[in-house]
Symmetry: C2
Subunit: 486 residues, 2 copies
């Protein structure tokens, strides 16, 4: 195991180094060695974590009537370019396939940067009547952006390998608005299950998705105080259905263009899981999604017969827990000491460790160690499975609680820019400042703070009566959130 010669601390000044270290050490994601910039390899342990997160994501969507599909990766240029705002927003960062075998292609093919255009094209064949609506599709795919900014593993990559994009179709504007709310509820449930804290903001007009009528975003905070966008929801209006001619018969027999929304999350969710729950020893993975929920470390001592008995009991325990549907692993590597194993599995974030030696064997007990609080307790063998299941839930609640507490302490309201600036100098958080509604005022504040405007709060009641825009002095109409963004 590589040395970690630095400490992950509350202010997170070492966060970047910590993150690079842990994704490698825990065998999550191999980054920087693959010979294409901004692209990495998901390793077995990381991939299993992904699998469980994706399972959760599918549950959240399937239970709300979403249907999974799969569109081709390649989009012909004339399809991608059909909606003018959309192509303006994306053309600077699209990868193009121009050759097949030894031939130049007649039509350039884009690697999907997102799928509004090809799906709307197909919907023009599929959807004819309000009776088919609402229709909710999604896919989980690789998505490509030729990023010009500095790339960062999982956080800003050129191949986003876990892009979940949902696309819905509606008979009128009202139903698309209802869908936006449903999407927000779905993402809240998803992030809540993962214990990832967030604010929900309406992105400013000048920062909305290219082709949307508005964009709503979920942002969380990394330990270094920078905000990370982890989910977005767009109302697309009729922008795409008009250019792709997705026409439906409405209830009153009239023909109209359908309405659409789209919403997405990516592997930034995994990056958030790692970052918001981790500590100086490494990962702390939620029980619910842990690739290994319980690791058993036999601690052989005494005569060789006694040693054998301990190893045997460890495996018997494994069998018993497997039958209870618990994902369990025995580390009986003879070349490592128990202490070394403790370090490795704590670093890998396994939520529960069982230690079993001759004493436990004699007493019919097991020592249970919980990774989140680093405390031990003795449990009787016959109560173990139930104890573990209860403890798993408790650990998930505890991690969620800790993450939200830390997060909330970093979101603060200020009536003036100076105090907000001082807050930012500590390298932390999201600030909320009264705003008059004018772009230039928000831009001025953002520049003074060295931050970006995240948008206006949707997740709390905003009362700005009597408050003024610190820039122009006009009465505030709402709050604007600012943060340094990833």
């Amino acid at each position: 195991m590589p040395d970690m010669r630095f400490v992950y601390n509350d202010l997170g000044r070492e966060f970047g180094r910590w993150f690079d270290w842990i994704i490698g050490a825990a065998e999550i994601y191999d980054y920087g060695r693959y010979p294409v910039k901004g692209m990495g390899v998901w390793m077995p342990y990381g991939f299993r974590l992904r699998r469980y997160v994706i399972e959760l994501l599918r549950e959240v969507l399937d239970s709300r009537g979403h249907e999974e599909i799969l569109l081709p990766l390649l989009i012909p240029d004339f399809i991608l370019a059909k909606e003018s705002e959309h192509i303006r927003g994306f053309e600077g960062q699209v990868y193009w396939v121009t050759r097949g075998g030894f031939e130049e292609l007649d039509v350039k093919l884009a690697l999907r940067p997102t799928s509004e255009t090809p799906l709307s094209y197909m919907e023009s064949f599929w959807i004819k009547s309000y009776k088919q609506l609402p229709k909710k599709y999604y896919q989980i795919v690789s998505m490509f952006r030729y990023e010009t900014k500095a790339t960062r593993p999982m956080l800003r990559v050129r191949e986003v390998t876990m892009f979940k994009e949902a696309h819905t179709v509606h008979e009128d504007f009202d139903d698309s608005e209802r869908q936006v709310l449903e999407a927000i509820e779905a993402y809240k449930e998803f992030f809540d299950k993962l214990g990832i804290p967030y604010v929900i903001s309406k992105r400013p007009e000048w920062d909305k998705f290219a082709g949307a009528i508005y964009t709503i975003a979920f942002d969380t905070l990394m330990p270094d105080g920078k905000a990370l966008q982890i989910g977005t929801v767009h109302n697309l209006g009729q922008n795409f259905t008009k250019v792709f001619e997705v026409r439906i018969q409405r209830r009153d027999q009239s023909i109209d263009y359908a309405w659409q929304t789209s919403y997405g999350v990516s592997e930034r969710v995994i990056a958030s899981l790692i970052s918001v729950h981790g500590d100086s020893k490494g990962l702390r993975i939620l029980y619910k999604i842990a690739p290994i929920q319980v690791v058993i470390i036999p601690i052989p001592a005494g005569s060789s017969k006694e040693k054998e008995a301990v190893i045997k009991e460890a495996h018997a325990l494994r069998e018993r827990l497997l039958k209870e549907g618990i994902r369990v692993h025995v580390d009986d590597d003879p070349d490592r000491t128990p202490g070394e194993k403790y370090n490795i599995w704590e670093m890998k974030g396994v939520p529960i460790r069982l230690e079993i030696g001759p004493k436990e064997l004699r007493e019919g007990t097991v020592t249970v160690f919980r990774r989140d609080k680093k405390v031990r307790v003795r449990v009787k063998i016959e109560e173990l499975a139930d104890f573990i299941k209860r403890l798993g839930k408790e650990i998930d609640e505890e991690l969620k609680k800790q993450a939200w507490e830390k997060f909330k302490s970093k979101v603060k309201m200020f009536s003036n820019v100076e105090d907000a600036k001082k807050f930012f100098e500590q390298d932390v958080g999201i600030v909320e400042i009264p705003w008059c509604g004018k772009e230039e005022c928000a831009s001025e504040v953002a520049e003074a703070l060295g931050a970006d405007a995240l948008g206006t709060p949707l997740d709390k009641d905003v009362d700005v009566s009597g408050m003024k825009c610190p820039t122009c002095g006009a009465p505030a109409v709402t709050l604007m959130r600012y943060a340094k963004k990833y």
Copy 2:
């Protein structure tokens, strides 16, 4: 539902039309409308079928110690070209990304045609010692081939969206040979679970995978008598580890290049499932992997109160079966007659249908219809869940039996080319003909038959004592299989 004005028959002369019809009508795969040749859209029902097939595939691999990973899609040209045989085999059919945003890329990037090269490159960092071996990786990804032959939905496409490629590393040749056998066993289990019949052949030297020392293939038969390659297993020797310098310390402390195998299956598995089990009414899906295992059709009659009671009971039944882990759907669409619903769900291949009307309600029974044999039986409500689970297994066995019987009748041995030719004129099967081992003799037979040489049998004892090569008259050393290939 579109009319099916033709009949799917045993000889399968209409197979092409039937296949195109069913993948559209059953909402499996939308092909031919997406504006890029050779690429289609997986629709919700087809995608769910895929999900269950992939689950099965993961079980088969995970239980044998394979670890799932995910490599980038894009491979730099200098990596893809490193093994000379390999690039010669693939360069004619690789898609190239040459532009990002408004810039020409310095290095051309290939869309993965297969991943031996980038993975071997990464293994040179990961694998250092025999202690880490054997190592078994796999990924399930999109793979691209700029096919010059005519494309066919799922059977020959330019984006293969369900490419499962496994890649293994070994300390010596013997262990790589053991792995080849393990891979064959794994695929046998997989195809057996899906009731897909196959022959296993060693591909002739001139038809092996580019970069392998030899290739073993699983072939099944489509209803039109053409052979479809559904799985391949390659022993790669040290061909890739030498050029990518994957060096390991061996048991005796010496340093050597590692040995590798690779093996793959694709969505041709889904195409096979559809084709080998289907009939003139449409799909017959195995219970194990059916997106909907049981469909409930309420048959309301009598007073409106009685009608209501039937609908209510249908939903109560659904709840009960759901709790038993059965994937069940109620079709209570008031706009369709029960007869229309029967046709739709038979076409979609749902293995078990429950019909419930006032009579069943009074008697506390349900009418159970099995799709495979199209027979009905009455079952008491309280015995229903167990009955369904038993019946599900029975259906899967029956479909498997039928498929194998049909398949076996189409694989025949002939000692001369003329009889084999007559057999082929009926449009069916695989023929086995004594062979002396010379390429030119096999080529001559293949040409005379208008077929391809599939390879030599690995799945049966071959006794060719006294037999002669029909071309050169020399003593036969084995059999060669021939078929018209997809």
